[in-house]
Symmetry: none
Subunit: 412 residues, 2 copies
């Protein structure tokens, strides 16, 4: 079965914005055994969008339209789909009341324009939006179905998963796709691919995808078979070979990111963690605390971005900073040790560095950073240099290395 | 004048790949005053691509097709364009000799399949490829032009710049595009649009785009005129009307985000900032310190994610937390005041809240959060509720509100 995806919104026709919803949707559709045969991005133009939907209906059984369901004048998707299908729309009071209630919960009054979102095309099933005001629509036609979804990824993903997937499973003949995911850190994408491509390229029924983001790499092995047993058996064949090739660069045998893996180990050990951040400026704490339930192991810590707070909050001797420089092995070790002492955590991580565009003192160069880990037995410091002076990348890489180092100390 | 862009290649219909050539092309076209009205991504299917090109020719004067000009069986762009235009193709010996020479320079023999790249559509001008084997084609038709370009960005950019830009300048009447950007926070997209659409919709030469991300909204007004002076005059006409309509919801009169605006004001006043974060877990500090040069105004602060660190690092009385709950106006005010006292900053921001999935005590519900701002004159606390219990959104919204409140206190 085939699908076409139409993303609606003039902002995606500017030089700055891409439609990324379609990547996620494509993955979901592929998992069902549905092929995406074309994608379109069109502006907020009623007739042009109607023409696009009409054409997609001629080519594919599944037409997914995302965006343009908002309350404003330039949200044309409802009208365009009605035009393409040659059907009328009706105002559904119940939807309007639901939107009104949502505004009321936020202690606001619904603008009149939001009533547009209560218009529904004849023959459509309404798709509930649990994360925004715009309801979606599921509109069967002679050869398939047109689905209207909201544009914001956060709303679209929830609606597609809850409302569309079960309906699509009813339409699409069963194919089983099983995925094995691994995550690594500390290895370049090229080196990783060189290590595993001789393995995966000999499995014709497995599609392998390598996705690198900063120094974090996700590898997906997707086996597509007529039965569950076959798919699982295939993945169990490839798994040990990949594990041997990548060794302890693998930190996760599913999609869990480092902060989740570390958190799980800490929680299992009844241990706690605190941080003392300079270069990462809160980004490491942000990542650790982004994990739901992280209050079980994460105590918090200090963002000692300035020299003053290094001295006052952590008690780092001013003359140590003067002597060694704020970005140094000595100061990083002292920060980690002090953070551990002052917060009473089992483990503490300290990060210093020069993310750029300028350096903090001249003890270290641009792109230099240090990670200190204080634990029950000792405090260790690791020094790295990020070759290109990109502020956001240096910060992200430092946070990643910090979690990687702690993860290795925590063992299996 | 309008353009449509068609990217050809089945690999861009997988979950991993996006067409990014179109962003670069869009920028080049906009600079000429050409609007991109739709983008398409299609697989390597002769008839389907022909249909797509045909349709684009009906809608736009400029049709750019990228990719599918290679030598293999699944490179269908030449055939599809010939089909769409209803024209024959001819083998041009001179092109074949050029490709052969290129192979010879690399000390290789041209595979026979490469002769396909020497097929040219009747009426086409040949576009020289200085970085690969596939020549492009410039094919005028009754209402405009179809251009075939190679897919690799490195080849496409060179060919477009050398061969297409001069030709397009001959086609397109001279136009200037000037952009006015504003950013707002604290207003819903619908309310904002209700306020400004009566204004912008009366300016036919201005294209308005509203981009919302969490509670941060960017508005772009793009004026397209025959001359620079006219475009600027038009924007200066609309500017005061929009400013009146949106008032102090506007925090930026360019693309600068809140953390940059706040930082600039702090620096101008010689003031400093520190934070005491609970709910946002480092995310607020991360945002503030993401600004290059932020060490001039940002001292750092505490991530008091646990009750223990609220007591030990900030000195919040344990009985205040017991009495009022960790997520409360009282504790938030105490955190902000203590952070200011302990860091010596001019301003301190404290954030507490329940981002979910569970609440920290029962003093407040899921989605409840408090922002406290301690300044030279007073400490104030603001309470908000985020209606849907999404952890990342509550955290992002709380950080945004915190910066918004501080920005308002800092004045113009």
């Amino acid at each position: 079965m085939n699908a076409e995806i139409i993303a609606v919104g003039s902002e995606m026709l500017t030089p700055e914005r891409l439609d990324t919803n379609s990547l996620w949707l494509t993955n979901e559709l592929n998992d069902l055994g549905v092929e995406v045969i074309a994608k379109h991005i069109v502006g907020d133009q009623r007739e042009r969008l109607a023409g696009e939907i009409r054409r997609a209906m001629d080519n594919a059984e599944i037409v997914i339209v995302s965006g343009g369901l908002g309350p404003t004048e330039d949200d044309v998707t409802r009208d365009s789909a009605a035009l393409a299908l040659g059907r009328a729309q009706a105002y559904i009071e119940e939807i309007a009341r639901g939107i009104e209630a949502r505004f009321a919960r936020m202690k606001r009054i619904m603008p009149e324009t939001n009533r547009r979102q209560a218009m529904v095309i004849a023959g459509a099933e309404i798709l509930f939006n649990d994360r925004g005001t715009a309801p979606g629509q599921w509109i069967p036609f002679e050869n398939g179905v047109v689905t209207l979804l909201p544009g914001p990824p956060y709303e679209l993903k929830s609606m597609f998963t809850r409302e569309c997937l079960p309906r699509l499973r009813g339409l699409v003949p069963p194919t089983v796709i099983r995925t094995l995911t691994m995550r690594t850190t500390g290895m370049s994408e090229a080196a990783l691919d060189e290590a595993i491509s001789p393995i995966y390229s000999s499995y014709k029924k497995i599609t392998t995808t390598v996705l690198a983001h900063n120094s974090d790499i996700q590898i997906h092995f997707r086996a597509r078979c007529p039965s569950d047993a076959e798919a699982n058996a295939l993945l169990e064949q490839i798994r040990p070979k990949i594990e041997t090739a990548l060794g302890d660069f693998i930190y996760s045998r599913n999609a869990d990111p480092l902060e989740v893996v570390v958190g799980r180990k800490l929680q299992a050990a009844g241990a706690t963690l605190s941080v003392a951040e300079s270069a990462t400026g809160g980004g490491l704490a942000d990542r650790i605390s982004s994990v739901p339930g992280s209050s079980a192991w994460f105590l918090g810590g200090m963002v000692t971005y300035s020299r003053r707070l290094k001295v006052e909050l952590l008690g780092i001797p001013a003359d140590l900073i003067d002597r060694c420089g704020p970005v140094s092995s000595e100061v990083t070790a002292a920060m980690a040790t002090a953070a551990r002492a002052r917060t009473g955590a089992t483990w503490s991580i300290a990060v210093t560095g020069n993310a750029g565009p300028t350096t903090d003192g001249d003890s270290a160069g641009l792109g230099d950073f240090y990670v200190g880990i204080a634990g029950p037995a000792e405090t260790t410091v690791t020094h790295r240099v990020w070759p290109s002076p990109d502020r956001m990348r240096v910060r992200a890489f430092a946070a990643q290395l910090a979690l990687d180092l702690l993860n290795r100390k925590l063992g299996r």
